[in-house]
């Protein structure tokens, strides 16, 4: 933790986030797409932790009880939510696979226009 400053973490987070976003758009396998989304979520977690760690005492905290450690709390909840989304997403992908033996998202445009 010594030496690095906040900017480094934020930059890393931003790069991870951007890679994830681009991945969502260029990949065709829903599982991979979802992995990219997970990457974005992890980038968010990194950002949260970085902010929480470097939260300056001069920051205009609202002085409410919940503001302390709320960054870390948020990270845990994000992880939980991500897990839930994984479960549901894999379930949906399984259902589609059972239905059409094929999970390419570019094959799925029954509905358009």
């Amino acid at each position: 933790m010594t030496g690095n400053n906040l900017a480094d973490y934020l930059t890393l987070g931003l790069l991870m986030f951007s890679i994830g976003a681009v991945g969502v758009i260029v990949r065709r396998n829903p599982v991979v797409i979802f992995m990219c989304i997970e990457l974005m979520l992890n980038a968010v977690n990194l950002t949260f932790l970085a902010f929480a760690r470097y939260m300056p005492s001069s920051a205009p905290a609202s002085g409410r009880e919940a503001s302390f450690m709320s960054g870390q709390m948020m990270v845990i909840f994000v992880m939980a939510v991500a897990a839930a989304e994984v479960a549901v997403g894999l379930g949906i992908i399984m259902a589609i696979y059972r239905l059409r033996k094929d999970v390419d998202v570019d094959e799925m445009n029954l509905m358009s226009g």
Partner: protein, 745 residues
């Protein structure tokens, strides 16, 4: 009785609505529970009772009001707030003044009688309770219309009665003609509503913009007791605005009250059951327009132009409908056109400033036209639902009571001097018109012209009503027994063939307009399927029998009301006029201290022109009546033309033209209603043509073009969507970074 508390007025509309709920929720169950006969009796009683109770209550309140004297008899009962948004406040409030109470009495009184009649007339109807559900709902809505103290409530009632009329016309919706008639009524009335709404918005906008000039300041921009004084103050120097508002409101009145361009739904509305025709399409709903013009008469008093148009439209309607009535052979159709014509009379009265005369005629007309319709219903009932007068004749032998009462109705409508009610009101209207100094168009005193034309209209009225009476009750032989003596069209074949012929004839003739929900082919198929001669049992052996008491008792009561007693009491000493428009509330300058309404011209109010016309007025109207009656007697009873070897064929052209309403109806339908498949679309098409003349269509093309363009982005690919979202987000951020400080305060 006189001590009835005014606060109770809320129960007058509430009672029929409660009855409506009872019929709607419990009706079928009760009938099933108590069995067909007793159940129907019970529900019939439960349908009549609330209306009658409302009548008693209204009568009591009316007495209280009459004791209050002219200065105080304008009460407003407020219940609770309805709408309170910034700058507009509309409470639930009921106005208790002579006008509203008069209408409430007419609606509940005549309504109760017709309900009673309907219990007998609809006895073998399967959906007995559904019928009375609609009827009670109609009474409630009509009472809201006449009692509501603001335009919004009036509009609610306005739509409500429209809905009930729509439902009741289409009551036998299995029959195609009824469905189509109902749809025509629906479509045409939308046009009227459009006018009403625009007028309403104009009033609100106008008062809101000049709010600082009215005192006391108010945000009840729709309540009569607030806006009438305000309009009185403001319209003095905005005659143009007065004209706009007046004309817009009058368009609404034209739709509801079946005036000339928009009248064409009313004759087809006769497809509904006869009590409906009597209650809604003769006595009450169609007079809503007159009531509204009376309510808002301040506007019209400031605009001679609008008044002039009202008078002209009324006059044209009166003459036109009277002419059309000659061509009709269906007894209810004749009465329908006579209703349209009489409504024209009322609007002439309103146009020339004799508002009270208009209301006077509303009341008397409610009595004798309801009587005539119910009588015709009795005749149709007795004649196995044959409505074609050409197969009647000499019925007075079979249905004496009906004959007697309908004769009274006939004398009343043709205005038999002094002994019958119609005479007084009609004479008041014609007098008011002849003595008019109010309605002006391009500097011409149109009122006077309309007065003379109405005299001719009275002649026509008495002629065709005489025709109806004689063809039905007198004129020698029973025609349905030996078709050979078929009098009018010269051809002789049996009713059924003729009926079929009539229908073939209808097929290309406009009055069977296109249905709401049908495409052309659909129509054709249904034409084939629809049971044209449903309950159609008129045979040579048929012997009509007099109807049951529950049906002729109302006839008798209405006949009594149609006699001169009513007219005399209301007309003598100008009782009714001063009840509606008390002279003491006006000062010389024309503006009233109490109600703050401008005075109508003295001559118009008196309803008696000066000079020789004034003295000769009675003789003129009586003369017109006599000429018409004698013409009818000679032609339809003595058959003078036939005896003198006069060639009837020469008149057949006029008859056919008249039967087809001089091709106006067919033209209108081809033009507006027939277009597009289903008539919801037709409403749109008609509106487009009426309102913005196809501009909307152009926009429609453009819009769907743009829609197609945007639609291309909806590729259906998840990744494309994600990309669009991403681009949108980036654009959002860039916009944040670059723009800013834009809209916010």
């Amino acid at each position: 009785m006189g001590g009835t508390n005014i606060e109770l007025i809320g129960w007058v509309p509430a009672l029929p609505l409660i009855g409506f709920l009872v019929q709607a929720l419990l009706g079928k169950r009760i009938v099933d529970f108590f069995g067909e006969r007793f159940g129907k009796k019970l529900m019939g009683t439960l349908a009549v009772l609330p209306v009658f109770a409302a009548f008693v209550l209204a009568a009591g309140i009316g007495m209280t009001l009459s004791e209050m004297g002219p200065l105080a008899n304008n009460q407003v009962v407020t219940y609770f707030d309805w709408i309170r948004i910034s700058g507009l406040h509309v409470p639930y409030e009921i106005v208790v003044d002579p006008l509203s109470i008069t209408m409430a009495l007419v609606v509940t009184g005549v309504g109760a009688l017709i309900h009673l009649y309907a219990t007998g007339y609809m006895a073998e109807e399967r959906d007995y309770t559904r019928f009375f559900t609609y009827m009670n709902l109609f009474i409630g809505a009509m009472l809201i219309l006449v009692l509501g103290n603001n335009l919004a409530l009036m509009f609610i009632g306005w739509e409500g009665v429209g809905l009930c009329s729509y439902l009741l016309i289409g009551f036998w919706y299995k029959d195609l003609a009824n469905a189509k008639a109902a749809n025509k009524a629906f479509i045409v009335n939308r046009i009227g509503d459009w006018g009403f709404m625009l007028g309403m918005f104009t009033i609100v906008a106008f008062i809101a913009t000049n709010a600082e000039r009215i005192s006391p300041r108010t945000d009840r921009l729709l309540s009569f007791d607030a806006i009438l004084p305000a309009l009185t103050t403001l319209l003095h120097d905005h005659p143009a605005i007065a004209t706009v508002i007046g004309l817009l409101l009058f368009v609404g009145a034209m739709g509801k009250s079946a005036q000339f361009p928009l009248y064409l739904w009313l004759p087809d509305a006769m497809a509904g059951p006869t009590p409906v025709s009597a209650l809604i399409h003769a006595a009450t709903m169609v007079t809503a327009g007159v009531v509204m013009v009376n309510r808002m008469h301040v506007v019209f008093e400031f605009s001679p132009v609008a008044s002039g148009w009202v008078a002209i439209v009324g006059c044209v309607t009166a003459i036109f409908a009277a002419l059309v009535a000659f061509g009709q052979t269906d007894i209810k159709k004749v009465l329908a056109y006579s209703t349209v014509s009489q409504l024209g009379y009322m609007f002439v009265a309103c146009g020339v400033g004799a508002y009270w005369a208009g209301m006077f005629h509303v009341v008397t007309h409610a009595f004798f036209k309801a009587l005539l319709f119910l009588g015709s219903g009795a005749v149709i009932h007795a004649m196995a639902h044959e409505q074609d007068m050409r197969w009647y004749g000499n019925l007075r032998k079979y249905v004496p009571i009906t004959w007697l009462t309908m004769t009274i109705g006939w004398l009343a409508i043709i205005g038999f001097p002094y002994l019958f009610a119609g005479f007084y009101s009609k004479e008041a209207i014609i007098g008011g018109a002849l003595g008019n100094h109010h309605a002006e168009l391009f500097g011409a005193p149109v009122g006077v012209y309309t007065g003379w034309l109405l005299l001719f209209g009275a002649l026509l009225t008495s002629a065709y009503m005489t025709r109806l009476t004689f063809l039905t009750f007198n004129s020698g032989a029973e025609r349905w027994m030996n078709p050979a003596t078929y009098e009018e069209a010269g051809t002789d074949h049996h009713p059924h063939d003729d009926h079929a012929h009539a229908h073939r004839h209808h097929a290309h003739h406009g009055e069977d307009a296109h249905g709401f929900f049908y495409t052309e082919e659909e129509m054709a198929r249904r034409e084939a399927l629809a049971p044209h001669d449903h309950h159609h049992g008129l045979t040579v052996e048929h012997r009509p029998r007099e109807v049951s008491p529950s049906m002729w008792v109302p006839l008798a009561v209405l006949a009594a009301l149609s006699t001169g007693v009513t007219g005399y009491l209301m007309h003598h000493g100008e009782t009714f006029k001063h009840w509606l428009y008390p002279p003491t509330t006006y000062n010389e300058t024309g503006l009233s201290m109490i109600r703050n309404e401008p005075v109508v011209h003295a001559e118009a109010l008196t309803g008696h022109p000066h000079g020789w016309v004034g003295s000769a007025l009675v003789f003129l109207s009586v003369g017109a009546m006599l000429i018409g009656a004698i013409y009818g007697y000679l032609v339809y009873f003595r058959r003078l033309p036939a005896r003198e070897g006069f060639d009837l064929k020469r008149w057949s052209g006029f008859r056919r033209a008249a039967r087809e309403q001089f091709y106006y109806d067919g033209f209108m339908l081809k033009f507006f209603v027939t277009q597009g498949g289903a008539a919801v679309g037709n409403v749109l098409a008609g509106m487009d043509k009426y309102v913005v003349d196809g501009v909307v269509n152009a926009c429609g093309w453009l819009a769907s073009g743009l829609g197609g363009f945007f639609r291309q982005f909806q590729t259906g690919y998840v990744r494309a969507y994600a990309l669009v979202m991403l681009i949108g987000g980036v654009a959002l951020l860039v916009y944040f970074a670059t723009v800013g400080q834009g809209v916010a305060r």
